[in-house]
Amino acid sequence: MTPEEIGRRLEDAAQLAFPEGGDGDRAAAERAEAAILGDLRPVSPMAPDWLHALILVLWLVAAAVDSASFLGMDGLRALGNGQAALIFVALLSAGWLGAVACARLMRPAAGRNLGPTAWVLACSLVAVVFAILFHGYDTAHFVQDGIPCLRAGLFIAAPTGLVIGLLLRRGLVLNWGAAGLAAGTVAGLAGLGMLELHCPNQKAVHVLVWHVAVVAVSGGLGFAFGRLSGELQ
């Protein structure tokens, strides 16, 4: 039995059980027309996804640079040119993927859900870049130095994520969990960007745990917050 034959049988069975074009269809169409025709105003289609993604990446960069300018650019001064280039290219690439995931989740049927991929890739890409560039594994003051970095990164990520959430509400988000995860990832990358510009601690163990944790935790919190707001709607 071929798939076409199975499909035909399904269609026949469906047509017998619920014939198309019956009174029920007509009555339902009339009700729907009555509901929407009374409130018919012209609307402009949403801007393309790349434009939303670009806005989000610019917002990420602005949040990271502004906050680091306020706190001091000690981290940037401690980095070599090659190190800085590699880190910020990785951050922007991960940020672009997260922003595209957000832009897609604003519109129904805009493509594959990239939220989880963006989160996993962002965490692993920056972790790999840090593992290549930094080599100090001394754990002295590990927690005392780490907690302020995590706190500062999340402090920058929170308002960035809230603004991204407001932008998301301009569309129709169907999967709020995935949208929260993607928004949290982009916001976490803004926090991480600020830390790379500000924090002069170049111990591998510090950046691999506490700096990467900003993206991981921010994505997780974004997911939880997204799910909750989806449930409440």
Binding site: M1, A13, L16, F18, A28, A32, L40, R107, A109, A110
Partner: protein, 185 residues
Amino acid sequence: MGSRCTVDTAESLETLMSRYQQADESAAAALVERVTPLLRRYFLLQASNRPHADDLLQDTWMRLHRARHTYRPEEPVLPWIFAIARYASLDHYRKVIRREARERQVEVLPEPAGQVGGGEALDIDTMLTALPEAQREVILMLKISGMSIEEVARATSSSPGSVKQKAHRAYQKLREILTAKENRS
């Protein structure tokens, strides 16, 4: 407010949707008339949604109307509509689950799901309920709503490869059911 222009019956759903965005009443009405039977069937064929199919349909149209600015004119319209219908159904399912949990707490039995039609309705139910939810959804969109693999992938936010895999598994299962039924008769 809305303007009324004429509608060519051969006009594509995409053109009608674009004109609906521009507040063209006749295009909106034509779109509703052409899409409602597809959506209604989509809800009726899912046994869990059947008793509430007309409410779900109305809810879906209200969601479509509020979100009409999120449709981009160059894209296929059916995946956009079915993505919204799919989530309307999912939200409804969550509400039913919560309500049933409350009803169990006060020891009131939930009402049984509605059964429609005679032997043939059971036949389509037998075929569809044998499939897991994800496969059933793919088969409904592919075979009953007439969407392509790419369109179903868009509507379900997955990849065409994943849709093909689900369809393949569903065909295998349906083949087994149909062959067994033929052997019995």
